[in-house]
Symmetry: C2
């Protein structure tokens, strides 16, 4: 079970910081364990088995590894939203978001060429915290006329209420592989 594997790994290698921060940079978002990423991608395939999807969308940088592994297993193209507009990009969709750990606002951009009304998108990211990045992704898809079929997160910090934000923004289907109910007192408490 990927939940058990993730839970053990988070308890072993995760570190809590003040303000509801969980650092998982030993295996997810600085040093990455590619085999774990593969296990994660297979679990996403199971969770979203009933959906018809033609494209994986994520956001640089930490979403790229699980997204590309999922795209590889599902044989689908992967698009990552950029946080800075490259000099060669002109025609694009733009959304605003706030980074929880970096404490700053940023823009998310996707070229109009790679997100269209024909697209049925599975959005993938490492964390669901306050839901800002996910909301930005919903916004980008709405501008493009694309349908977000599902949103998959490796870790959800349920106490930061991102799920409600995404549901209010119209997300039909949200799946998180490890849901954390509380980090109070530096104790990681999982849901279920």
């Amino acid at each position: 079970m990927v939940f058990e594997i993730l839970k053990d790994r988070i308890l072993k290698d995760g570190k809590c910081f003040d303000g509801g921060v969980l650092k998982v940079d030993r295996f997810i978002n600085h040093q990455m364990d590619p085999y774990l990423m593969k296990q994660i991608s297979i679990e996403f395939i199971r969770r979203f088995a009933d959906l018809k999807v033609n494209k994986i969308v994520t956001v640089e940088a930490s979403g790229i590894a699980p997204a590309v592994m999922l795209g590889y297993q599902m044989e689908l193209p992967v698009v990552f939203a950029k946080k800075q507009q490259p000099s060669t990009m002109s025609d694009m969709y733009v959304a605003e978001a706030t980074s929880f750990t970096k404490k700053c606002d940023y823009t998310m951009v996707i070229s109009k060429e790679f997100l269209t009304k024909e697209d049925h998108v599975l959005f993938i990211d490492d964390f669901l915290a306050y839901g800002s990045t996910g909301k930005g992704a919903i916004d980008l898809c709405r501008q493009a006329g694309a349908t977000i079929e599902g949103m998959g997160f490796i870790i959800e910090k349920a106490f930061q209420n991102g799920r409600q934000i995404l549901e209010q923004a119209g997300a039909a289907r949200i799946e998180s592989l490890a849901i954390i109910e509380s980090l109070e007192g530096g104790q990681i408490r999982f849901a279920r």
Copy 2:
């Protein structure tokens, strides 16, 4: 042959811009083709078959997809240098670099926890242009006492002389899967 596959794809989907810019955002660094990334990773394994490596290092964001695919195939951990210091990172190596396409300086940081003198590193990135990012990676490894065994790039723009910069910085072994000699007049001319 991955070179032929890459060449055909670059000719079909790549776009030239003034100033020696080659845009490959249809299949490498905005929309990504995960199956091509897998083929690329297998070719890197062949090219570096004689090396003993225990870690893949790259830089966010465009290096992550080929690096994680390579790490998956080789069963090795992957570390990506960050371009911005996260609030939870304190003890790290820092190097300076310049982005060619984004026309700005940036810092590359790797936590001291994930790069040590025990490490024999294979560095992977999408482009070798002026060599600034690669030089930053060499600098980070030197600070850590780690050994860069090899540096692999998907596309090298030979006319921008990054290879010489990296060799002068001490790179022992550089492999690029597609080497472009010139983009003059919007014509993509490959080496060999």
